[in-house]
Every structure is written in C-alpha cells, then in structure tokens.
C-alpha cells in the first residue's frame, strides 16, 4: 500500500498521478502534491539535493506508516529525487487515496509537513554569486505542531 521511491532520475508527475488513480472502486478521493524547483530571483542555475541513503527510505517509511495509522488510507505514494535539478524540475511528489476527501487531504498535508523537516534531505542552490545551503524555516518546524 505504501510505495516509496528515492531516485536521482526524473519522474513524470502526470503519469504517476494517472497510475496512482488507476481504477479501484473503493477509492473516492485522491490528493497529490508536487514540489517544483522554484526560482525566486531569476538567477538560479540549479539546485542540488543531498540525502542520507538508508535513513531516507527509513524516515519516509515511518512518516507514511504514521499517516496510514492516523487516516483511512487505501494508498500512499512518496517519490523524492536527489542530485542536480534545474529550475522548474519536479523535486518530489506525494499522493494519497482514501474513500473520503478529508482523509486524503489531511494525510497528504501531514506527509508534506513531516517530510519537510524529518526526512534527511538538504538543498543547495547555485546562483550567479555562488552556492548556498537552503536554511530550514522556523515555520516548517512550527507546522508540525498542527498534528
């Protein structure tokens, strides 16, 4: 039920959404989230994502299990890339399927909040003036208090 993929290769968001939402007659609601490399300043050359092989899969698995414990999920998918990504590239996605929309929404939102600050990924942005590690936001840590 829980599928987790950590990969350097690109994934096709549309194809993954279509496949995830494949004909099942017990699913009433599917929610997907896709994170994209955003260029605020117009001079982002690329983003490098580092991760902790082994712990990453383990941490994502624990987060997904916790979501499945809290909400009535029929399916749950997490894909996260690492390595060098161009602006506009898809970084990651989560998808949740449930009988009802409230569960699918809450679980996807929860997965994103925990993934942000509990899965071992680090982003480094390379711009004209040099490379810099992205700092964690206080708001990301604060978001966990919602659950």
């Amino acid at each position: 039920m829980v599928q987790i993929r950590v990969q350097s290769e690109p994934f096709d968001y549309g194809t993954e959404c279509a496949r995830f939402c494949a004909d099942r007659q017990d699913v009433g609601a599917v929610v997907t989230f896709c994170g994209v490399v955003r260029d605020d300043t117009g001079d982002l050359a690329h983003m490098e994502i580092e991760h902790y092989p082994g712990m990453t899969e383990r941490a994502l698995g624990k987060i997904a299990e916790e979501a499945a414990r809290r909400w009535a999920l029929l399916d749950c998918l997490i894909i996260h890339r690492y390595g060098a990504l161009e602006p506009g590239a898809r970084i990651m996605m989560v998808a949740t399927a449930s009988a009802h929309r409230a569960d699918a929404f809450a679980a996807a939102d929860f997965l994103m909040d925990y993934l942000k600050s509990r899965a071992p990924f680090w982003k480094k942005e390379t711009r004209a003036q040099g490379a810099q590690w992205v700092a964690a936001k206080n708001s990301d840590e604060a978001a966990l208090a919602r659950w």
Binding site: E50, M55, M92, P120, F121, W122, W133
Partner: protein, 83 residues
C-alpha cells in the same frame, strides 16, 4: 568501539569528509562531539553551535544526550530541508 560517523550538507563540507570510522569509548553523542572537537579545529568549528545541528543514531533522529551503547552509525547534519 568502532563507529561509522557520517556528515551531510555544510557539516560535511566544514569537516571535509562524508564519512569516517572512529575508534571511541564515548558513551553519548555529546561525549563523541567533545572528543572530535578536542581532536581538530575543523570539528570544533562544525560542532560550535549544536542548536544548528541534528544527529541520527543508527539512522533514527536522536538527542545529543542519547547513549551510544551498541550504536554502529552516527550522523551529523543541519536541519533538514526536503520537499
């Protein structure tokens, strides 16, 4: 005991390596941090503000006062920024 110690993101860059095997008797993460910091300036620098760091023991997020009994792998890194 022998410990695999891993560093990620700017901790890796500051210490200058991604992983190393350390022979230590440290009983807690804090003791390991102190031992490494005493060893060389680059460790002292990387570990100077522990509030800016996170630690995982055997691939589980831990506290700095966690015991290292039976631990095989300890990783140091900044707060995570996935998603």
């Amino acid at each position: 005991m022998k410990l695999e110690v891993l560093y990620f993101a700017w901790v890796r860059e500051r210490i200058g390596c991604a992983r190393e095997t350390i022979e230590t008797d440290a009983q807690t993460v804090n003791a390991l941090v102190d031992e490494l910091s005493a060893r060389e300036e680059r460790y002292a620098l990387a570990f100077s503000d522990l509030s800016a760091l996170r630690v995982a023991v055997d691939q589980d997020l831990s506290e700095f006062d966690a015991p290292l009994t039976d631990a095989r792998e300890v990783a140091f890194f900044p707060p995570m920024t996935g998603g």
